[in-house]
Subunit: 246 residues, 2 copies
DNA sequence: TCAATAGTGTCTCTTAGACACTATCGT
DNA sequence: ACGATAGTGTCTAAGAGACACTATTGA
């Protein structure tokens, strides 16, 4: 940032928030975590569902990302998710209380041992299922959150074409068929088994672990784990868009 | 955004700015526009070079992007550049004056008829040449602007692999050899002519116009124009990383 | 006719899709 | 043995790199 004015603070400041699009795979579906806005009168959009988020706590949060991590932890207990900044949205009109800017992050977490924690406001948190291939929930959300959700889903889908992102939606140990299914759920289309396995294996983003699934109905499957859970890997080549040629 | 607190405004607000990474191709080089910070004591980083930017004017700017466009216009006179949000950077420490968040945009503009306008502070604006293949200027910038510039260059390079972005660095009418050269300047490596032309032409992002270059030394070249100047097009397939296989 | 740049044709190698095939489990 | 899912081999087609080739200008 730079200051082009001589006066320092008298300029009115927009207010700043952080919102989260928290996604997971549950019940063979992509799901997003929403919270219900308090019904208190005076609050904007009372009773509507919204993305979890809130103000930056300048005393507590050292950085924007810290703030996002804190909010994620408060809601889900998850400590180290895949977290990525989606972008920021600011305008005079998006919040009836005044000029506001929100920093949107999206998080991918596995659906294992997550205990949703109601916020301090006794608001309820719940998972909402996203229809296959859709980029919205087909219902109104508070503020511009429906647009933010759509942007997050589009970003996820486009990155999935050339990254290992869906692995973050699964437990630490997973099989290739499970990973393939996660890709299919996110993309909203079927993926060819042989090409999928070649691609994922050739990219060397996952590591075989000396274990197989047991207690399964039929043939057990090899278990894998992300090689580097901290970092997202990019594939050398992208998925195609289905059929080749034309 | 959502409010999880009952209290409304007593929470301290970070201050919010918009910064711009304005890039063009000049002198067969990628160049970035910087402004010199005022030498006034009391101002942070006096005399250092910085990205152009400043506070949001909540009275004047309807949205974040409007604010970015206004600042670009004020500095360069350019009205409709390629403009994309890079991301936001916020922390307690990036500005000595307090918790701040900046929204970084990057703009690609053609080097034609641009008259740099000094800011109201009598600060000077100048183009700085980015060394081929480098992601920084090799000198200190104010605030965290060196990091912001690096992020912008990395984003540009990665998007160039699969989009028509470099066309926005050229005048409206350009030849394929010129476009190829723009790709090479951005990527910092040579690009194979035949494959390049096939790819760009097959992607149908540019349109032949019924004119050729004249007054040129040797054989004239066909002129082209972006088909849709407003929208960025994505190629079906990415550039490779140079030699194949290996 | 030559130098120089614009633009094309074609060979090869790699890889994604398709799909049939084999492998390994519980019952 | 059989059903079901896990996992592999192989054929084909298309795109990218490489590079030699042709085309069109000014001098």
């Amino acid at each position: 940032m730079t200051m082009d004015r001589r006066v320092l603070v008298p300029i009115e400041r927009p207010f700043v928030t952080v919102d989260l699009v928290i996604l997971t795979v549950r019940n063979d579906r992509l799901e997003v975590l929403l919270v219900r806005r308090p019904a208190t009168t005076g609050e904007p959009y009372p009773g509507l569902w919204a993305l979890p988020g809130g103000f930056i706590d300048v005393g507590q949060d050292a950085t924007l990302e810290d703030c996002a991590r804190r909010k994620l932890r408060e809601k889900t207990g998850v400590e180290s998710p895949y977290l990525e900044q989606l972008g920021s949205y600011g305008s005079a009109s998006r919040d009836p209380r005044g000029w506001s800017v929100t920093q949107v992050y999206f998080a991918l977490i596995p659906d294992e041992g997550i205990a949703l924690r109601p916020g301090g406001n006794a608001d309820t948190a719940a998972w909402w299922s996203i229809p296959e291939g859709s980029t919205n929930l087909g219902m109104d959300l508070a503020f511009d959150h429906a647009a933010l959700l759509t942007a997050a889903l589009e970003r996820l889908r486009s990155k999935v074409e050339y990254t290992s992102l869906p692995a973050f939606l699964l437990p630490r140990e997973f099989t290739l068929p499970e990973l393939q299914r996660a890709y299919e759920i996110v993309l909203g289309r079927e993926v060819e088994k042989s090409a999928f396995r070649r691609r994922v294996l050739d990219a060397e983003v996952i590591r075989k672990i000396p274990k197989k699934t047991r207690l399964t109905e039929r043939r057990p499957a090899q278990l894998y784990r992300l090689k580097d859970e901290a970092n997202l890997k990019t594939f050398a080549r992208a998925f195609g868009q289905g059929k080749r040629g034309g």
